[in-house]
Amino acid sequence: MTDSLRGRVAIVGAADTEVGKVPHMTPMQLCADAILRALADAGLTKDDVDGLVTCNSMAEPYMYHAEATAEYLQIFPRFCIGVGAGGGTTFSILHHAASAIVSGMCNTVVVAMADSLRTGMTRERAMVTQSSSGHTQFESPYGPTVPALYALIARAHMDTYGTRPEHFASVAVTCRKHAALNETAQMREPITVEDVLNSRLIADPLRLLDCSLVSDGGAAIVLTSAERAADFPHPPVYMLGFGEGYGHEHISQAHSLTESAAGIAGARACEMAGVTPREMDFAQLYDCFTPVVLLELEDLGFCAKGEGGGFAASGAIELGGALPINTHGGLLSHCHPGNPGSMFALTESVSQLRGKAGARQVSGAELGLLHAQGGILSSHTTLILGSEATL
């Protein structure tokens, strides 16, 4: 059964809203804008949508967000669900949406996520809301920020494998380099390893430039069955593999601080797709904080355990390297509106596999791996996408 979804569902529309500081739009407007843009990309109208997936907005929460979005747009889907698993949400729900299409529950699913963490909330409210990922009795009273929770992982990786702050910094430098080629990115000014190491400490060893952005923005994609996918304006991008892995929810309950359930998720996705990490033309790896990328490179099998730092610093993860990552600039430099963050890795991958990524196009890109995680290295989903040539 592990190959049951391979190549059976495709992305036929994808679009981002304006990102960064977007004070002139509400989170619901961003969500609706993303949906309309993705539908236009697919050559569809809102009346064609019979499946809708959204995630809640922190700045403007609804009790039932997907249903509220359907009402706002006046669409009447057969499958409608709002999801919440942090950054891992975006790809885990694609697994479920694809299953809904294959099982006949619906034909055309729009997945749309948007939020306004930058201008829709005060800094204090944004910090407190996000740090509520700590256990309310046994973590949050101690005052951990989200960077502090990830810093515990960074410190353990340094202690176990000799990873150095300049290794973390190389991830930030790479993402900024790629963002410089992306005119929609929030931060495009090139930075150096020294800039990262000289930026102020937030939670040792993490510095300001090791931390992702706080942004407004949204994105949406349109999914349909492979049988119908040929009838759309753009070449379909096929979903070849999905894999999920869950290790813990709260970091104080993690069985390991240096090895994550990304390994399980990645292995499951590769098994379904029938591919190995070595075959990937690019990867979009969840980069809420720079050390997370090193763990993902290792756990997903792109390099040996403990060697993520050296691999990243070698230039292998840059455009032109063995495994270009976060070709749009990632959460570190493109944008990070919270839970919708991974959507931009998805829309970027669609551009790459359509061969339409402009100055940052990975030459001959046919196969890509996307990984997202939520909580504090807690819930993991790997997604493998490919062009028609990979079917």
Binding site: F138, G143, P144, L201, I202
Partner: protein, 136 residues
């Protein structure tokens, strides 16, 4: 680190009440399974090892070691600002389980991986004493 209005007070419930009652009495309590002797934190309905019920409470020694830590330079909210820089650490207790806490009574810059620590209690309110750790 005494309680200031606005700090995140733990919402005690029926499951955790014996733990917080212990803290109030200066005792760090953990659950132990009567069937398989597994010791766990945080408190739960079931033993996570054998799924047995009817867990009992034991007093931990209060000794542990620093499994990982960070020094927070930017507080999570205004209520925590007077404490900056403060240490968030994962403490592996001598009995096995890991818990999060602050390390106090020392210069944050002197905290090290694997450092031995012992529990101390900081009364935040009449009901809540927070278990914190200091160098052993």
């Amino acid at each position: 680190m005494s309680y200031k209005l606005g700090k995140h007070l733990p919402p005690v419930n029926g499951e955790s009440a014996p733990y917080w009652e212990g803290c109030k009495q200066g005792e760090l309590r953990l659950q132990q399974c009567p069937s398989c002797s597994h010791i766990q934190f945080y408190p739960r309905l079931l033993c996570t090892k054998c799924s047995g019920r009817g867990l009992s409470w034991i007093a931990a020694s209060g000794a542990g070691r620093v499994k990982s830590f960070t020094i927070v330079r930017r507080a999570v909210s205004e209520a925590y600002e007077p404490d900056v820089p403060y240490v968030i650490a994962l403490i592996e207790l001598a009995e096995g389980p890991t818990m999060m806490s602050n390390i106090v009574s020392c210069d944050p810059e002197t905290v090290e991986m694997n450092m031995s620590v012992r529990v101390t209690f900081d009364p935040w309110t009449e009901e809540i004493s927070m278990p914190l750790f200091e160098p052993a």
